[in-house]
Every structure is written in structure tokens, then in C-alpha cells.
């Protein structure tokens, strides 16, 4: 299974019926492909939409119905639109149950850096700082390493997105949580050993007892 498929499938298991969920660009967007049909999940796009549906078929696109990347989307029955102040009121005000974002680095306490690489990539934070600060649960979807180098570090070398620790980091190798402010190995991916995760992680990982394997259908 491809790395991003593992990550997206595992994160989809965190969804619960009735949740309002914001998905970032990249791997997070793929999570929508693995929502069980029995679940009623509402997706928010920060440009002002609740009830975001799949990418419309050719010829069914509406120029004024787009996601936060400006790409055409559909709206499900019962969808609503609103201005940006309301959209970020939803986000900062804790009305968004869960957000899934990409990550560049995460530190040992679960603090995320995902918005810039000084002098190299300065795209702007967009809505990321508000989402990490305000959503009820924050899940990071990212590859475990970049060019063989760990991304889960004792300290981030890149500027942080928020001081607030994230809830969960899901990679193609592991699920890591941060109870009591400590990076803790919760699950390993199928075929990945605890030792492999530890050697691909710079931050100290708390490991208690036998670590279960991710169950991916």
C-alpha cells in the first residue's frame, strides 16, 4: 500500500458521525475518499462552505463553488456558504471537530511546524495557524521522514504553526500521540517494527507494553 493511502485510511478511522471536519491540501484531502458510507461527516472548506462534496464531473463545475485551493468542488444537499469571518469564527471558536493538516516537522511535545522554510518556501500560513489553534482535534498527516531524515524531532528547526500540541500524528510507519506532552507510540503500520519507527524518529518515543498494529481494511 502506498504511504499516503496508509495515512489517509488510518485517519479516516478517527471520523465519527456528525463531525464537522476541515481537510488541508495534499494527503489530508485523500481522507475524504475513505469515509465509511454509514458515517454522516460534514466537510468545511475555509473559503466558506460546509457540506463540501466530491470533485464534480466535467461540465458540472460551478465557477463560484470551490475549495480552499480554488479548485472546483460540489456541495451536498444541506450545504451552506458563508463569509470568511464566519468561517474562521467556526475554526477559532472550536466549532470544527477535527482538522487534518500536512506537516514539515513535529516536536517531542506535539507542536507542529508546517507553514514555512525560511529563505526557501514562504507561501504564507493561510488558515493553518487558526486551524491548529482552534479546532477541537488536530491530526497531522505526513510521511515519517523526508529524504531519509526524521520529521518528528526533539525540537523543530522550522517556525512553529502554533504552540498548541496536535492530537495525533499519522505517518506511513506509525500513529503517535502526545499524552502528558510526551511523544508516545500508539500503533505501528503493518510490517513495520517498533525498532524501525524508533530509528526513523529523532524525538524520544514513550513506548509502553506491546504496540498494536494499525488495522487497515
Amino acid at each position: 500500500m502506498e504511504a499516503q493511502t496508509i495515512i489517509a485510511k488510518r485517519i479516516a478511522q478517527e471520523l465519527r458521525s456528525g463531525m464537522l471536519v476541515n481537510l488541508g491540501i495534499g494527503i489530508p484531502t485523500l481522507v475524504a475518499n475513505y469515509v465509511p458510507e454509514s458515517l454522516n461527516v460534514y466537510f468545511q472548506s475555509e473559503n466558506g462552505l460546509i457540506g463540501t462534496g466530491p470533485i464534480p464531473e466535467e461540465g458540472m463545475m460551478h465557477p463560484a463553488l470551490t475549495d480552499a485551493g480554488g479548485r472546483p468542488v460540489s456541495a451536498l444537499p444541506g450545504a451552506c456558504t458563508f463569509d470568511s469571518a464566519t468561517s474562521f469564527g467556526l475554526i477559532r471558536g472550536g466549532h470544527v471537530d477535527m482538522t487534518v493538516l500536512g506537516g514539515l516537522q513535529v516536536d517531542a511535545q506535539g507542536r507542529l511546524a508546517n507553514w514555512m522554510i525560511p529563505d526557501k518556501m514562504v507561501p504564507g500560513m493561510g488558515g493553518a495557524m487558526d486551524l491548529v489553534t482552534g479546532a477541537k482535534r488536530v491530526i497531522v498527516a505526513m510521511q515519517h521522514t523526508a529524504k531519509g531524515k526524521p520529521k518528528i524531532l526533539e525540537r523543530c528547526s522550522l517556525p512553529l504553526t502554533s504552540m498548541r500540541p496536535v492530537s495525533l500524528v499519522v505517518t506511513e510507519m506509525a500513529v503517535i500521540g502526545f499524552p502528558e506532552g510526551r511523544a508516545t507510540l500508539l500503533e505501528t503500520a503493518p510490517g513495520v517494527s517498533v525498532e524501525q519507527v524508533v530509528s526513523a524518529t529523532e524525538a524520544h518515543l514513550t513506548i509502553t507494553g506491546a504496540i498494536p498494529e494499525m488495522i487497515l481494511s
Binding site: 472548506s45 475555509e46 473559503n47 466558506g48 462552505l49 460551478h62 465557477p63 463560484a64 463553488l65 470551490t66 480552499a68 485551493g69 480554488g70 456541495a75 456558504t81 458563508f82 463569509d83 470568511s84 469571518a85 468561517s87 474562521f88 475554526i91 477559532r92 518556501m121 514562504v122 507561501p123 504564507g124 500560513m125 493561510g126 488558515g127 493553518a128 495557524m129 487558526d130 489553534t133 482552534g134 517556525p159 512553529l160 504553526t161 502554533s162 504552540m163
Partner: protein, 205 residues
């Protein structure tokens, strides 16, 4: 409310003006007005908007033409020209978290001096700002933003200036329409007063 041509509307805007421009990645931007600003070659503009769209699209056209001296935005990542001009020192870029940006604009339009937000506390966004603790939680004091002009796009306007927006083309538009000294609207449709139910924001300029 006055009905004016797009040429006359753009001519109202002097070089060096500050503009709030609606749109999110170009969706809901007043394209005809932007095209006319480019044609008239307005210079040294300060553009306050969510993003810089992309080359050839929305605010991206102003960037390509080299008319923007400064932009205050939450995201410029999809416009490589903005990044090039920023790195070359031709354009000043002030990056602001999206929720903070729209709320600073809302404050400017709603008669507030600023807002307190938890977003950015402890990050580079905090530099140079006051941190205020309330009930054990930290917030940044973010000051209000206003502009000389708001350039708004609406799906529909009536002859009194009531505006209706389409779907996600709403975004920054109704908020900036409160926060500028002069508001210029391009509407895709203009209809008689009273032909639409009372259901959306009203604005006059």
C-alpha cells in the same frame, strides 16, 4: 449608490492607494475592475486580500503588471511572481493568519480598534505585538485594518446597492465592503429594487 462605468471607477483610484480586494484564489474577485486598473497602470498600490491568486487570475494580474508595492495577505504560495518580487525587494509582503486578517478587517469596518486572538501566540506572528492574558488564556492584540477603497464582486446587485453573493465567491467581499472609505462593486447582474427578498447584506457607497 452610484452607477458608474468601470473606466470611471478605476479612475477614482489614485496611485499609492490602499485597496481591499475580495476573492479567494480569484474566486469572487472583481475581474473587470482589476483589468481596468492594469489598463490604466495604477502604481504603488497596497493590496489587502486573502491571497495573491495566480498569474493571469484576479489579483495576480496586478502583480504581473508590477503595480503592487505592498500586499497584506494570508497566502501567496500559488503566485510565484509575488514570491519573486518579494525576494527581489520589489514588493513588501506582510503575511497574516487568515482568520486574523479577516477579523482585523471586520474590526476596521465595525468601529473596533482591534481584536484579541489566540492564533499566533508564541510563534513568529507574535513579534512586535502585545500579548494579553484573560482568564488564564493568552491572546494577541491585533489592530484593525481599513483601506481607501474596497473592490467587491457580487453575483447580483440592486439599484440601491444591496448585494447578493454566489456560494464561495462571498468570502472576503461582504467584510471588506464595511472597511473602506469608498466601496466599488462589480456585479454580474443588476436588478430593480425590490425584486429580491430581503436576505443578504446591504451596502451603500
Amino acid at each position: 449608490m452610484k452607477m458608474i462605468s468601470v473606466e470611471y471607477a478605476a479612475a477614482l483610484i489614485p496611485d499609492g492607494a490602499s485597496l481591499m480586494i475580495g476573492g479567494f484564489m480569484g474566486v469572487g474577485s472583481p475581474e473587470r475592475l482589476i483589468d481596468e486598473l492594469v489598463r490604466q497602470g495604477k502604481r504603488d498600490l497596497t493590496v489587502i486580500a486573502n491571497d495573491n491568486a495566480a498569474p493571469g487570475r484576479g489579483i495576480g494580474k496586478l502583480v504581473t503588471a508590477g503595480l503592487v508595492a505592498k500586499t497584506i495577505a494570508s497566502h501567496i504560495g500559488l503566485n510565484p511572481e509575488t514570491q519573486q518580487q518579494m525576494l527581489a525587494g520589489k514588493m513588501a509582503v506582510d503575511l497574516v493568519p487568515q482568520g486574523t486578517l479577516i477579523e482585523r478587517i471586520r474590526a476596521g469596518g465595525f468601529g473596533l480598534g482591534g481584536i484579541l486572538t489566540p492564533t499566533g501566540v508564541g510563534t513568529v506572528v507574535e513579534e512586535g505585538k502585545r500579548r494579553i492574558d484573560i482568564d488564564g488564556k493568552s491572546y494577541l492584540l491585533e489592530t484593525a485594518l481599513r483601506a481607501d477603497f474596497a473592490l467587491v464582486n457580487a453575483f447580483l446587485a440592486d439599484y440601491r446597492g444591496n448585494l447578493y453573493y454566489a456560494l464561495t465567491a462571498r468570502n472576503f467581499n461582504p467584510v471588506i465592503a464595511m472597511a473602506a472609505d469608498t466601496v466599488i462593486v462589480t456585479a454580474e447582474n443588476i436588478v430593480p429594487v425590490g425584486s429580491r427578498p430581503i436576505m443578504s447584506s446591504r451596502l451603500q457607497s
